[in-house]
Amino acid sequence: MLNQADPNEEPMSETSVEDTIRGQISDNPILLYMKGSPSAPQCGFSLRTVQCLVDCGQRFAYVDVLSNPDIRATLPQIADWPTFPQLYVEGELVGGCDIVSEMHENGELKPLLEDAAEKAQTSAE
């Protein structure tokens, strides 16, 4: 798990925030934008989403939007998705807490994440 954004950076211009976000989404096969961190989520919806991901057993990257207000303000417009958390798998928005929970319950989430992790490993080799 990693938190990519450097909190000590100068405030970013809107274009570079967008570039940063697009880079994060394309560089990380499984990426969660959340409030807080996986070990200390700051919102019940983020907590539940982390639990679903942890249950599936694959490593995932995360970005804490509370400590990255630029990303918090910009991502909803780019993603056309108003709320957090947001899960991205292989560059695609999967959804927020309700969708991730539903997919975890109906068994779709685990194979999706395993597939993404496997492809990432193959391309890294």
Binding site: F45, D80, P82, D98
Partner: protein, 104 residues
């Protein structure tokens, strides 16, 4: 109109077979009487053939003003009639509230 009533009214655009809007703000750290956290449970034939992501997008769009304003969190459970039956059995769906009692 309260935020809850506004949400209910706007979502009737989806011709819901069942619609429940719960104000869950009381579960969160907000002032008593707040209308900030909601849960929507909706069953509609409009969701046939739509991915969950697109169902949620449709609802988010209808409620864009509320999400940009007073609503801080919106949980969405969007089902087709078939989804609903396989999940909850054949319990009859309650008709949506049409707001009649508000006029009393």
């Amino acid at each position: 109109m309260t935020v809850q009533e506004t949400i209910e009214t706007k979502l009737t655009a989806l011709d819901p077979l069942h619609l429940e809007v719960d104000n869950e703000s009381g579960n969160h750290n907000v002032a008593p009487g707040s209308e900030s956290h909601f849960k929507v449970t909706i069953v509609s034939t409009r969701f046939e053939g739509m991915r969950l992501l697109d169902r949620h997008r449709l609802i988010n769009e209808l409620l864009a003003d509320e999400l940009a304003g007073p609503v801080h969190a919106l949980a969405i459970h969007a089902y087709t009639a078939a989804n609903w039956e396989s999940r909850f059995g054949k319990a009859p769906m309650s008709p949506p509230c049409l707001g009649g009692s508000k006029a009393d």
